[in-house]
C-alpha cells in the first residue's frame, strides 16, 4: 500500500533544506547590502551553504526517484493539482540553478571558489567579463524568484494544514511515516 506521508529521508531532507534555503536567502540579501564586518564571514558562509544545498538537492532528487511521493487527495481539483506540481518543479529548478549560477558566476569573474574553509572547486567556465555581469544579475533575480516561490509554497502548505485539512500538510510534517 502506498504511504500517505513522504519517506523519512525525504522529510529529513525537506526540513534540513528548508532551514538552509531560508538562511541562504537572508544571508545573500544581507551580505550584498552591507559594508559591515559581517560581510567578511557571510560571503564564505554563503558559498559553503550554497554548495551544500546543491549536493542535498541532488540527493533529494535521487530519494524522490526511488521512494516516490504520496498522491495528492483524489478530490483536489485538477487545476490546483497542476499548480501544485508546477510549483514543485519551479522549486527544484531554482534549488539546483541557484548554486550552479553562483558557481558559474564566480568562475566567469576569475574568482577562487573556496568552500568549507579549504576546498577549492574548479571553475565551471573561463573568465568572461560580460558573462560575469549577466550571471551576477541572474543570481539575484533567481534568488528573488526562489524567495517568492518559497513564500507561496509555505502559504499553500498552511492552507492545506489549516483550511483544507486534507493530509497534504501532514504528509511532510508528520514525525512518523504513515501508511
Amino acid at each position: 500500500m502506498k504511504s500517505t506521508t513522504f519517506s523519512g529521508a525525504a522529510r529529513l531532507l525537506h526540513w534540513l533544506m528548508a532551514v538552509l534555503i531560508i538562511a541562504m536567502l537572508f544571508i545573500g540579501v544581507g551580505m550584498v547590502s552591507t559594508v559591515g564586518a559581517s560581510h567578511n564571514w557571510l560571503v564564505p558562509l554563503h558559498k559553503s551553504v550554497g554548495v551544500t544545498l546543491l549536493l542535498l538537492a541532488l540527493i533529494r532528487l535521487a530519494v524522490r526517484a526511488t521512494k516516490g511521493t504520496p498522491p495528492l487527495p483524489a478530490d483536489m481539483p485538477a487545476p490546483q493539482k497542476a499548480v501544485a506540481h508546477l510549483s514543485h518543479l519551479v522549486l527544484y529548478a531554482l534549488m539546483i540553478a541557484l548554486p550552479l549560477v553562483g558557481w558559474s558566476m564566480l568562475s566567469a569573474g576569475g574568482y577562487p571558489i573556496t568552500v568549507w574553509g579549504a576546498v577549492h572547486l574548479p571553475p565551471l567556465l573561463s573568465p568572461d567579463r560580460g558573462l560575469y555581469a549577466s550571471l551576477r544579475h541572474l543570481h539575484t533575480y533567481l534568488a528573488y524568484a526562489l524567495f517568492l516561490t518559497v513564500i507561496a509554497h509555505l502559504s499553500a502548505a498552511l492552507m492545506h494544514g489549516l483550511l483544507f485539512k486534507d493530509g497534504v500538510f501532514q504528509s511532510m510534517a508528520a514525525w512518523r511515516t504513515r501508511r
Binding site: A37, H39, H137, I151
Partner: protein
C-alpha cells in the same frame, strides 16, 4: 470535508486561518526586506559608496570606479621560507609563485594626467597551488585618509566638485576636516611627503592589518610592505601639472623594457598597543620586520592586452593562513569593490588611456590572448 472552492476558502469560518497565513507570509517578506536593507534607511550600503565615487569623478562606463587609470604587469614571487613562521600561506614557501598585477593612480577618471599628488598603487594577484589566490591592493603611502566606511563616504561627498565651480565647496571640505582630524593629518602628510618619481621606486603597503596563522595555529596581526630595489627619487611637485599626461606609466614601461623590477616583501610586526583596526594610524618605523621573499615584475602590458583589467583586486581574497583583521575598511573594500566590479563588467569595454600610447606598441598578433601565452 475539505473545501477547495473559492467560496469555501473565503468563508467567514476561514477568516482566522487566512489571517494567520497572511501574517506568516507577510512577516517573512518583511524580514527578508529588512535583511536586504530596504527597510532601514540608516544602513550604509556598498551601492551608496559606489554612487558617491561616480558622483565625485563622473561615471566612466567600463572602467573601475576608483583607480581607473592603470597598467597591467606580469611577474613572479620567490618566497624564502621565513614567512612560514608567521603564516602557513603557501606563498611563503621556498618556491616561485606566478603573479599578475596592476600599477594605478588613485581617482576615478580613466584618462587623468599622472601629475597629481595622489596614491601610486600596485594591485597583485598571486596564483597559488590548488586554485588558491591571494589578492592585494597596495598603496605607496602606509596609511589611509579615513578609518571607517562612513568616513570614506562623507569624505567623498564633502570633496565632490560643485557643478557650478568645478571645485569642491570649501565650506563642506572644512566642515568635514573639522570632524576628521585623521583626514586632515593625512592631507598634511601628502602635501609634505616626497612623491616617488616612478612606480618602480615606490614602497607598496598593505594599508590595513591582516591576521596571519601559522602551522601551529598561532595567530598574529601584521601589516606588510614591498620595498623597491630601485633607488628612491622624488617628483618635483611644483612642476607636476606641466608633465606629459601619461609620464609615470610611460616611465614604468621604459624601465621594464630594460629589465625586471624587484621589490622585497617584509612582514611588519606590531608592538603591543599598535592599532590594528585603524588604517589612518601609522606604525612607527622601528617595528620588527621579517623579509619573506622578493617580487619580480618582468613586464608591463596595457589593460587591452594584459591580464588585469577584468580582475577585482579585493584584498579579502586570501589564502589559508591569512584572514582579515578587525579593520572596518576591509569588509567595506570587499563589498564596495564587488558592486563596482558588477557595474563595470556589465558595461562595454572602453579604451584605456594607454591604449594608443606609443610607449606600449600594439601586439603584432590581433589576438591578445594568443600573444599573452606566447610570451
Amino acid at each position: 470535508m475539505p473545501g477547495y472552492r473559492v467560496q469555501d476558502i473565503l468563508s467567514r469560518r476561514s477568516l482566522v486561518s487566512l489571517l494567520a497565513i497572511a501574517t506568516v507570509a507577510g512577516g517573512a517578506t518583511a524580514a527578508f526586506a529588512y535583511a536586504g536593507g530596504w527597510l532601514s534607511s540608516g544602513r550604509l550600503k556598498p551601492t551608496t559608496i559606489v554612487n558617491a565615487l561616480e558622483g565625485h569623478d563622473g561615471k566612466h562606463e567600463g572602467f573601475r570606479r576608483a583607480h581607473a587609470k592603470g597598467l597591467c604587469v606580469v611577474g613572479h614571487f620567490d618566497g624564502n621560507g621565513q614567512g612560514l613562521a608567521l603564516s602557513k600561506a603557501s606563498l611563503f614557501r621556498q618556491t616561485t609563485t606566478p603573479v599578475i598585477g596592476r600599477f594605478s593612480l588613485a581617482g576615478g577618471v580613466p584618462n587623468a594626467g599622472d601629475g597629481r599628488v595622489t596614491f601610486h598603487s600596485l594591485a597583485l594577484k598571486f596564483d597559488l597551488p590548488r586554485g588558491e589566490q591571494w589578492r592585494m591592493a597596495l598603496n605607496h603611502v602606509p596609511v589611509f585618509p579615513v578609518a571607517t566606511p562612513q568616513a570614506f563616504l562623507d569624505f567623498q561627498l564633502a570633496t565632490t566638485p560643485d557643478p557650478a565651480t568645478g571645485k569642491p565647496d570649501p565650506a563642506k571640505v572644512q566642515a568635514y576636516m573639522a570632524q576628521h582630524p585623521e583626514t586632515k593629518a593625512f592631507a598634511d602628510y601628502m602635501a609634505k611627503a616626497p612623491l616617488p618619481s616612478s612606480f618602480a621606486n615606490a614602497n607598496y603597503n598593505s594599508v590595513n592589518a591582516f591576521r596571519f596563522t601559522n602551522d601551529q595555529g598561532q595567530t598574529r596581526l601584521v601589516r606588510w610592505i614591498f620595498t623597491p630595489e630601485a633607488p628612491f627619487d622624488e617628483l618635483d611637485k611644483a612642476t607636476l601639472a606641466d608633465r606629459p599626461r601619461d609620464f609615470l606609466f610611460d616611465e614604468a614601461a621604459s624601465r621594464l623594457a630594460q629589465g625586471p623590477l624587484v621589490w622585497h616583501l617584509s612582514v611588519i610586526l606590531p608592538n603591543a598597543g599598535d592599532p590594528t583596526d585603524d588604517a589612518t594610524k601609522p606604525w612607527p618605523d622601528d617595528r620588527q620586520r621579517l623579509e619573506v621573499g622578493t617580487l619580480t615584475i618582468d613586464r608591463a602590458v596595457t589593460e587591452e592586452n594584459g591580464p588585469c583589467r577584468d580582475v577585482n583586486f579585493d584584498p579579502t581574497i586570501l589564502p589559508a593562513g591569512v584572514s582579515p583583521s578587525d579593520d572596518p575598511l576591509l569588509a567595506a573594500r570587499s563589498s564596495v569593490y564587488a558592486v563596482g566590479y558588477t557595474r563595470r563588467t556589465g558595461e562595454p569595454v572602453a579604451a584605456s588611456a594607454l591604449a594608443a600610447d606609443k610607449a606600449f606598441p600594439a601586439p603584432a598578433s590581433s589576438q591578445p590572448a594568443a600573444k599573452e601565452s606566447a610570451q
